[in-house]
Symmetry: C2
């Protein structure tokens, strides 16, 4: 009964979430307006509130999609390196600390891309919960990626390592264009691989 078929409408919704899960990590929550997002998905702003109860609901969906994509990625990664945990850890750390990761905010680590946006009292509701849920799921994968020859790395080590990786990426982005930017990434890489 719609102007488009149900299947098309479902696809539209998926397109909107896909666009949001790329644009929100890239430009921030407040950097993506509803009209701009819908235009990116090939629709107009009026279609938005037929699909989402609010902008907050969209952010939740986009956040979950971004984490789900990375969880699937690391499931594959763990499977591929199942017989060489040492290599898995080294390859992961090298990839994470590549300068190209700094530029790829929309496709890179959602923890690093969203953590600044999700902090603060005005985001204490469902967005925060979606972010924390995604983080917990992603950290489960990191236990194995970072375990090396062990099955799973100890939790303190996982959280501290992730803190260093995310911190180096976020600081590298905040100083992009300055000489110190690359140093954050290379120092984290060096300390994690050699220290």
């Amino acid at each position: 009964m719609p102007r488009v078929s149900r299947k098309e409408a479902d696809q539209h919704r998926k397109n909107v979430i896909a666009a949001a899960s790329r644009l929100i990590p890239e430009r921030g929550i407040d950097g993506v307006s509803v009209p701009a997002l819908m235009a990116e998905a090939g629709l107009t702003h009026g279609a938005f509130y037929g699909q989402f109860a609010s902008k907050e609901a969209l952010v939740v969906a986009a956040c979950e999609a971004a984490f789900a994509e990375k969880c699937a990625l690391y499931d594959d990664f763990v499977a591929r390196y199942a017989d060489d945990g040492e290599a898995a850890r080294a390859v992961f750390i090298k990839r994470y600390t590549r300068p190209s990761h700094r530029e790829a905010r929309g496709e890179g680590c959602p923890m690093a891309a969203l953590c600044g946006d999700v902090a603060g009292p005005e985001r204490a509701g469902s967005i925060r919960a979606a972010f924390a849920g995604g983080m917990n799921r992603l950290l489960e994968r990191f236990e194995r990626v970072l375990g090396g020859k062990r099955k799973k790395a100890p939790r303190d080590e996982v959280l501290a390592t992730v803190s260093m990786l995310v911190g180096s990426l976020v600081l590298a982005r905040a100083t992009e264009g300055q000489p110190i930017s690359d140093e954050f990434l290379s120092s984290a890489r060096k300390v994690l691989l050699e220290g």
Copy 2:
């Protein structure tokens, strides 16, 4: 010739910068409007453009003030612990990773508070430069704070340690209210002090 004396006007400007250097780290650049900031400083919005060329100029001044305050703080800190570098490093790491630091965004580490705001292409101008300049000055202090019994810690170690501290704080803020939030801080503390 003004409605208030020159001295009062100078004091007003300092008040505005002081308010901004607390509110901007606390609420983010876009979370502090010019009218709200001026009200906080006891003035009306109209007075703003007599003192600052633009909101960007204010952010630059606030950023510099925030970093300058911390530089002075750590100069004192280094002097106080001049004869016991080991204690300086341990005390600093314990203070940085306290849960109360997570809540004190406006008074805490400006690197952690501002890094998310300063990333992105729209902040690539003078704000980014002010942030990077402040970071470089602050990192000079950290070389000595983190040196332990050495005079200065090696640069890779400083940058990696700061990455972990900032990362743990930023992630703890992004997950505030969730059980994992405290874990980021305690894990970073444990690894840096014992690992």
